[in-house]
């Protein structure tokens, strides 16, 4: 009896299930599909069945992250312990005695800067520590123009160039620079330092190759760091070494997918002041199919007959340089920087260069000032001649005459970098810190005699995996900047002061104490 009941129950429920299934829309289709799909082919049907089972399992599986394996899971107490143990590194390293002494004696200028500047201690000194090469700072015409622009446009454009920041003056300045250099286009950045450090990552990314001079400045190194590219260095201004590195890159990359390749160097080196051989560089870049980024920060407005930079000085067509980066801040007495090149190169930067898209545009008055001073250089090249006369006059007082220092700067470079002669360094076994200290003493001694000069100061090499180069060290140097604001007589006098100060410091008892241990 019970068995029959169970049987009836099973039959009933089977019937229920079937009728419910038939009520489901599409069930008839499914049955037809399954009936027709068998087709007397068990292997194929089995494959399809396995596929369907796999599919259902995939759909039912729960999701998981593949990145989570990289983290260590910690308990609450472990986290507390770690937090307890952690002592933060100071954001800034403690000041050394040398830095303290330097900042205590820092000369402070009162009022406008110029060839003769007044300090807070009331003395007026000859200022050879500013990039005021043509004394545009004191130029009334430039000042008047800037004030006019200020009244029309206000101070800042209050927006990035792509977001209401571009004004007609910016476009005029861009056109002026492009026509001055003879390139297709030009893009103006709001800050000279961040120009090249933004141009490099706009064109380079992971896997790209940058071949750079070993002594490139901090701004370029920051660019390398942001670009994440492979950086290979060659010896400073040694084009044979550059060729060796280029050949090695070509060889290493022969069977790999093609990447972008760049040579990055400075026209006038910020850290050593010397000049690169551009025609040879162009020849190498063309032979090995690299692009060239030339940093003209220190040479634009300085080299060449009318200050068009290295390309004018060495008679190279500027269109041969793929990206020509310059500054409007130093000799041009305005602010910001630029990158000149083909329209493609320029337009690409307008949306992909970080410091162009994310920082406010150049103040209008600086744009007009740049235009104005650039025009003055083009129309009155005599001031460049005058500046070079002054450089020559200063050099005559220092480089061959001084027994202690040697000028590493190129002959036309108004920024004269004076390093201690190698035999002085060797015979006294001076470390980098001792050289810095001696040179600072020279700066202080020169200032005591009424001439303001400075030392070459740079940031330490950028940390991070890219752009790091442990082999290269900044060479301590004195920095003497020329200006046309002083007559040849005054320059000569200042030169004598500097030379005597250096001699006095280096022959002093306290410094010679370090000297020549075999004499004692």
């Amino acid at each position: 009896m019970e068995f029959q009941e169970a049987q009836r129950f099973v039959q009933q429920s089977m019937h229920d299930i079937t009728s419910t299934f038939q009520k489901v829309p599409g069930s008839a289709m499914l049955i037809r599909y399954i009936q027709s799909s068998y087709q007397n082919d068990p292997v194929r049907s089995a494959i399809e069945l396995i596929l369907v089972i796999f599919f259902v399992r995939y759909l039912l599986a729960s999701s998981y992250a593949t990145h989570s394996g990289n983290f260590v899971t910690l308990t609450e107490s472990e986290i507390d312990d770690l937090v307890e143990e952690w002592t933060p590194e100071p954001l800034v390293a403690p000041t050394t005695a040398f830095e303290k002494a330097e900042s205590d004696n820092l000369p402070i200028i009162v009022g406008p800067t110029g060839p003769k500047s007044r300090l807070t201690n009331g003395r007026t000194v000859t200022n050879l520590a500013s990039y005021n090469f043509y004394n545009f700072v004191g130029n009334e015409q430039v000042k008047e123009k800037a004030i006019q622009t200020l009244r029309t446009y206000g101070v800042g454009p209050c927006g990035p160039p792509q977001f209401y920041g571009t004004q007609d003056v910016h476009m005029k300045t861009e056109a002026a620079i492009a026509s001055c250099l003879g390139t297709e286009g030009c893009i103006v950045y709001a800050h000279a330092f961040s120009t090249i450090s933004s141009v490099i990552p706009a064109f380079c990314k992971r896997g790209d190759i940058i071949v750079a001079d070993r002594a490139v400045n901090y701004s370029i190194r920051k660019g390398f760091q942001a670009a994440r590219s492979q950086v290979r260095y060659y010896e400073h201004n040694n084009l044979e070494d550059l060729e060796r590195v280029l050949q090695k890159v070509i060889k290493d990359q022969a069977k790999k997918p093609l990447t972008r390749r760049f040579i990055v160097t400075e026209a006038l080196s910020e850290t050593l002041g010397d000049c690169v051989d551009l025609p040879k560089l162009i020849e190498l870049k063309q032979r090995y199919k690299f692009r060239l980024m030339l940093d003209e920060t220190w040479s634009f407005g300085v080299l060449g007959r009318t200050g068009r930079g290295l390309t004018e000085a060495q008679n190279v067509d500027p269109t041969q340089v793929d990206m020509l980066i310059g500054s409007l801040a130093g000799p041009l007495c305005a602010g910001g920087g630029f990158c000149a090149g083909t329209t493609d190169v320029v337009d690409h930067q307008r949306i992909s260069a970080a410091s162009y898209t994310y920082s406010a545009a150049l103040p209008a008055m600086l744009a007009t000032t740049a235009c104005e001073t650039l025009n003055m250089l083009l129309t009155t090249p005599e001031i460049l001649v005058q500046c070079r006369e002054n450089i020559k006059a200063m050099r005559a007082q220092l480089d061959p005459r001084s027994d202690w220092v040697h000028c590493t700067s190129a002959i036309d470079n108004p920024v004269m970098l004076l390093t201690l002669k190698p035999d002085v360094v060797n015979s006294r076994r001076l470390s980098i810190e001792e050289q810095e200290r001696l040179l600072q003493e020279c700066v202080d001694e020169t200032l005591a005699n009424g001439v303001l000069i400075t030392r070459l100061k740079s940031m330490p090499t950028a940390p991070g995996s890219n752009g790091k180069d442990t082999e290269w060290k900044l060479k301590p140097a004195l920095k003497v900047c020329m200006t046309t604001g002083l007559s040849k007589k005054e320059i000569e006098k200042a030169g004598i002061t500097i030379r005597h100060a250096i001699t006095k410091v280096l022959t002093r008892k306290s410094s010679s104490k370090l000297a020549l241990p075999n004499v004692v």
């Binding site: 596929l51 599986a61 999701s63 992971r206 492979q230």
Partner: protein, 179 residues
Amino acid sequence: MAEKTGRRRRSSSLVYKEPPETIEHMSDQAALPNLNANWVNAKGAWIIHVVLIAALKILFDIVPGISQEASWTLTNMSYMCGSFLMFHWVRGVPFEFNAGAYDNLNMWEQIDNGAQYTPAKKFLLSVPIVLFLISTHYTHYDFTYFTINFLALLGVVIPKLPYSHRTRVGLFSAPPEDR
């Protein structure tokens, strides 16, 4: 230097896993939302698969001289080839926004930041399977058509499996770069 040598693949193996990224590399990936992969989670992105398949079918139908069987097989093959190219062959991001942080990963591996069995991945796996089942049905279970369609299906299903995550076949792709 130590981290660089760690990234090199053992030269002998034919199949290898893409090595994990460095901390710096991962933070670059996380710096911005991955626009290249995120759109697959949008509503329209799911519908477009169905629309494209229908469009392909119509296209092959209006070409004269193509039988229903061939038309379904062609539709299936075009979809499989297209999706293989898009999801598994091309690596990196077509529009650069984070210094090439995704250059070593194909689009499937970029979707949902590499997580497995996410809704988008389930959907993208189900489309080729359903399409395959439909096309075998309409090719009337002809053995030749079945083989062609099934091999094409394997070509897109195997790279989608969690096992294949970051796996590379040395025959098709060069060893990973030091990046």
